[in-house]
Amino acid sequence: MSNSSGSGKAAGLVRASGIDPRMLAMIGALVAIWLVLNVLTGGIFLSPRNLYNLAVQSSVVGIMATGMVFIIVARHIDLSVGSVVGATGMLIAWLQVQIFPIDAAWGWQLSIVIGLLAGAAIGVWQGYWVAYQGIPAFIVTLGGLLLFRGVAFMITDGRTVAPMNESYQLLGGGIHGSLGETWSWIVGLIAVAAVTLMTVRSRRRKLAHKFPVKPLWMEFLLFALWVALIVSFVLVMNSYYKPRTEIPRGIPVPVLLLILVVIVMTGIARFTKFGRYVFAIGGNLEAAKLSGIDVARVTQGIFVVMGVLAALAAMITTARLNAGTNSMGTLAELNVIAAAVIGGTSLAGGVGSVPGAILGAVIMQSLDNGMVLLGVDSAMRQVIMGLVLIAAVWLDVLYNRSRSA
């Protein structure tokens, strides 16, 4: 068998799968990174304990990256997300620890609601300047980067507030912050059922309308891969025990939140008018306006979504730290933007996907996590992450150039 027919076969396989070749390249890159890091760390990287931590670390960045996809698809940028995490996180911690009565059963829930509303309000504010006053998002959110970091400091005059409510701490995925063995399997089974339902339904509907479908064997292969992914994820999370026991931890709560966010954000992107308009605005602003789309309103909406997601990330961060500190989320904007771009969101606008951004977040966190395990100091880690960000955008530029040529 010659080499060229081999690569021709591979290309045919990619086409039959109906998956974006870029996404496949990302999956390939992730697998390669994992294998290399696992060898370099002598098997520590792919241990259940580390994968559990990696999953929790990726959730915070991943949740925000889903919002950043919308922002970048619409040809904007948000540099303020890290500072918004700081401000909303401090607000939640301050309310919970210093304002609400310590023994109130409603204290932590109310602090979350107010925190999310504050995130939405920040989105309304930034979206107003971008959408209705025409100030570039780069400037508005660069201002926001300073502004909200300042607010985070002012809420308690720079003091750290702790400890958080015990129930609230579960949201951070700490020692008790996971689903346990049984519930993890239930979640896994629900996921498998959902994948089955979606595969069958989508194929049946396409056939009913005589739309083109994937070959049957490919449908089975993709289905099998999904099931394998879900089952192995649950297995790995269940093989990490609580300290000094044999009690499996199971799926961490932040990962569960991430999964819910991914479902909701994918749903918004694919099944709502709002989501369609976000992509239309990014693809051709003039066409969107001529089609009667209220571009300003949609743009402001995107920033509101981003603000709420940043507040959600702040909730997980404070729960995990068991404290609120004014430096929370510092430099998170870089990881979040990098995750979106690595996951195939094009800075030229109009192109991007929520699952891709999650993949990007996992890649970024894997590199960071792996370097920590290898004892790379923080200065060097920053150098490498900066280079990764540039490389990701460079690949995007090359990809677009090769397609337009």
Partner: protein
């Protein structure tokens, strides 16, 4: 056209100026069902501004527009569409990153009873209308950016006729097309005409104008030079009007 026929569009004394520059000055024009009226003139003569007044992109400063005999106030693209008037822009105004059905329904998506976009219903309708325009059109789920010029034009035209528009404005529909695709668009215009749709056609190609249009209006410096039945004038006379604003000696104007 006899006066008994109902006018689809009647423009009376339309004015539009931008900061003291009169882009459109006292233009009056009618359009009847099943009629193609060409609007001609140099770049900057005011024809683009005139069609933008009709399509709602630049509302008129003064004058009146009647559609089906009723006075309408067109302030936005939405208003124009509500009045049954669709514009096919020279740039086509397509979102390149979306597929054909999404573009056809952009801003007017069909929804399910849960309020989500109904991609299936839109695809079914899109296939029907695109197949009617262009039987070779099969890759409708590709992004518009990967389609040929003729296919992109088909998508833009399909979007205009999808919602049963009675009035179309076509801005240079064949400028970016090859000979075969140009023929396809010409055939399409003839078919739409036979369906009773009225069309304003903006074109630089006098052969197209003489082949397709029933009447033509020439503009110069924002003013209307004259409106004639296409069969009453020669290409040379029309060129004379476009270049020097000279009216032909022995042709009667029509409205």
């Amino acid at each position: 056209m006899s006066d008994q026929t109902k006018k689809l569009v009647e423009v009376r004394g339309a004015y539009k100026s931008f900061g003291g520059v009169h882009a459109v000055e006292d233009v009056s024009l009618n359009l009847y069902p099943g009629e193609v009226v060409s609007i001609l003139g140099h770049n900057g003569a005011g024809k683009s501004t005139l069609i933008k007044c009709l399509s709602g992109a630049h509302p008129i400063d003064a004058g009146e527009i009647f559609i089906n005999g009723e006075l309408v106030d067109i302030r936005s693209p939405r208003d124009a569409r509500a009045a049954g008037l669709e514009c096919i822009y020279q740039t086509l105004a397509l979102a390149d990153n979306l597929d054909a059905p999404a573009n056809l329904y952009l801003g007017r998506e069909l929804t399910t009873r849960w309020g989500t976009v109904d991609d299936e219903a839109m695809e079914v309708q899109a296939r029907k209308v695109l197949h009617r325009l262009n039987p070779n059109f099969t890759n409708i789920n590709d992004t518009v950016s990967s389609m040929s010029g003729g296919q992109r034009q088909s998508v833009a035209i399909a979007r205009a006729i999808l919602f049963n528009a009675r009035i179309l404005i076509m801005d240079e529909p064949t400028a970016a097309l090859g000979p075969q695709e140009t023929r396809m668009v010409s055939e399409l215009i003839t078919r739409l005409k036979n369906d009773g749709i009225g069309i304003f056609l903006i074109s630089h190609d006098l052969n197209d104008v003489f082949e397709l249009s029933d009447r033509l209006m020439v503009m110069k410096n924002g003013k209307q030079v004259g409106t004639y039945r296409t069969s009453d004038v020669t290409q040379d006379e029309v060129l004379g009007m476009i270049i020097s604003g000279a009216k032909p000696a022995d042709a009667a104007q029509t409205h």
